[in-house]
């Protein structure tokens, strides 16, 4: 029985690693631009679907590259043509625009690829077993990718000039600009990273389960929960928050009906908001 729970825990960490990727991107955008991008989930879904499209003509590993690039363009484009002109107009305008954009992108997805479940068509592979645990190759890839991406991000933030200016901008955008930090470059970097993480996570989720048009929204809500757990704008908080959501969600399956698996993240959102609106890990310093 203990093995059963340990296996659930392991699954939770794997899922959580991907949620962390989404949450880190979402919280970075919040940290710099002070608004929550409701269209972030669609970057996830587009990353997955574009890879599906390119994998029909390219080997899978190569197909990821153009799809990620397109998603990055999408991320930069949405900022340039929609969010930037609205930045001075107040937050409600931005929020409604980002909700509208997510709806537009999600329906475009349905138009092009249909509403049915799709897969990358990998053959079912036997999981590898260590001791009493079972882990699939995809899951290993998920954890590895998350570690690589987040490790690179850590290096970038900690040791490069770009990272320093990013943290400065997150702390105070106006002050950073006065100090001569190029805000255009900051914006580009933030959107690039956020879109890159989203599309990578989307592909990995698509490999692990399947692709469907609503996958963006489902995962967005989990990323929200993770961001709130970590305290908005706090990158490392979002990372821990993502892992936490993944673990709680998978352990929850042992106690509730699996139909409520997605509801656990929502319950976490509501509970956090109730008791600790600044986030659980707001003490741990991070990007801000």
């Amino acid at each position: 029985m203990a093995d059963y729970y340990a296996q659930l825990l392991l699954n939770g960490v794997v899922a959580g690693a991907i949620y962390a990727l989404f949450a880190v991107g979402l919280t970075m955008v919040y940290g710099v631009f002070r608004f929550i991008n409701f269209a972030h989930g669609e970057l996830i879904a587009w990353g997955a679907y574009l890879t599906l499209m390119f994998s029909q003509v390219l080997p899978f590993a190569l197909a990821v590259v153009p799809s990620m690039m397109l998603v990055i363009l999408l991320g930069i484009g949405q900022d340039r043509y929609i969010y930037k002109p609205l930045r001075q107009r107040g937050r409600i305008t931005l929020l409604i625009a980002s909700i509208g954009l997510s709806y537009l992108l999600r329906n475009a997805l349905r138009l092009i690829w249909g509403s049915d479940l799709q897969t990358y068509g990998f053959e079912a592979a036997r999981g590898l077993s260590f001791a009493n645990f079972i882990i699939t190759r995809t899951q290993l890839a998920m954890v590895a990718a998350a570690v690589v991406f987040l490790g690179v991000l850590y290096g970038l933030l900690k040791f490069t000039m770009m990272g320093k200016s990013l943290r400065a901008a997150a702390d105070n955008m106006d002050l950073a600009e006065i100090m001569g930090i190029n805000m255009r470059r900051i914006g580009l970097t933030v959107w690039t990273l956020s879109a890159l993480f989203a599309s990578a996570g989307g592909v990995l989720i698509g490999m692990d389960t399947n692709l469907e048009p609503m996958m963006g929204l489902t995962n967005l809500l989990k990323a929200f929960a993770a961001v709130l757990l970590g305290g908005a704008g706090n990158i490392w908080g979002a990372l821990v928050g993502g892992l936490f959501i993944g673990v709680v969600e998978n352990l929850g399956v042992a106690f509730f009906s699996p139909g409520y698996k997605d509801a656990i993240a929502f319950a976490v959102i509501i509970l956090i908001l109730l008791f600790r609106p600044t986030g659980l890990f707001s003490i741990i310093g991070g990007m801000r």
């Binding site: 929550i36 625009a97 509208g100 709806y103 349905r110 509801a263 993240a265 929502f266 908001l273």
Partner: protein, 290 residues
């Protein structure tokens, strides 16, 4: 003619729904992105009560009451958050309520939905009851419209606008901002419950797929397109959207392309929301600023 009645009824249901959202979004500046939850609670409660044998009018009141109470209960914790976070919390709540409808089969029959919901005051199901139901809808919409007018033109309503413009000013004027917000969310949810009940008793069949994020987007569009924080905006927006939706049915679209109509419609709605924000955030009817 019957079809025209049907469109009018749906438009009126959406008008009530949009008016209730406008109280929160337009007048108080609360970004409620889970308003469909209260629409659903109203619909399900009223349907279940009337199927259990209670008089329909009483069931509808029950649906409104439960929606209003749930709204107040959600508002108490959620309103401790500002702006964007309130949006997330309500969005999550909306999804949670939908999952509840989907999973609690003993109560809601899950994805099968609830068929055979009776209409109120002995109005017949089917086409023959349409004119009477339309009259009922007109009367109730009128009542909600007047209630919204009374609320927004009272000192309470003016205080809400102050909260929207600047919470600190409202506090400095001695207003209890938190209490104002909780009360308006309760009222908004109650009216959304009424819209839901009207919908359920009209269609006579409801299932969890009637209460998704799509409905939230649609009603958001009704309010934003018509004009946030105005009396007539939500009415105009709802009629425009519902008529547009029904008008699409008459376009000579080949059967093969039937599959693509819904996504394209969704894309249009999303694009309209973005364009409105970029070009005309105040909507068709601009708010009168003193």
């Amino acid at each position: 003619m019957d079809y025209f009645f049907h469109i009018l009824i749906i438009a009126l249901v959406y008008t009530v729904f949009a008016l209730s959202l406008n109280l929160e979004l337009g007048y108080t500046g609360l970004y409620n992105f889970g308003h469909v939850a209260f629409f659903g609670i109203g619909a399900y409660t009223s349907a279940l009560l009337s199927l259990a044998g209670f008089p329909v009018a009483l069931s509808m009141v029950g649906g409104m009451a439960l929606a209003g109470m749930t709204g107040a209960l959600l508002a108490l914790p959620a309103l401790r958050l500002s702006g964007d976070y309130f949006g997330i919390a309500t969005l999550a709540f909306g999804e949670m309520v939908r999952l509840f409808f989907l999973n609690e089969r003993w109560l809601t029959k899950g994805p099968m939905g609830l068929p055979g919901i009776p209409r109120p005051f002995g109005i017949q199901a089917g086409v023959s009851g349409l004119p009477l139901y339309l009259i009922l809808c007109i009367l109730l919409t009128l009542a909600v419209f007047l209630a919204a007018y009374r609320i927004t033109h009272s000192p309470f309503g003016r205080a809400l606008k102050v909260v929207r413009e600047d919470e600190f000013v409202a506090q400095a004027l001695g207003k209890n901002v938190f209490s104002l917000k909780v009360r308006i969310v309760a009222v908004g949810s109650l009216l959304a419950g009424l819209a839901g009940a009207l919908y359920g008793h009209y269609i006579t069949y409801i299932s969890p797929s009637d209460f998704t994020l799509n409905e939230t987007i649609l009603v958001l569009l009704c309010v934003v397109l018509g004009g946030r924080g105005t009396q007539w905006g939500p009415v105009l927006g709802s009629f425009l959207i519902v008529f547009f939706q029904e008008f699409l049915r008459f376009l000579p679209i080949p059967v093969d392309f039937g599959r693509v109509v819904a996504p394209i419609q969704g894309m249009v709605y999303g694009a309209v929301l973005i364009l409105l924000m970029l070009k005309r955030p105040e909507g068709i009817v601009p708010e009168y600023k003193v």
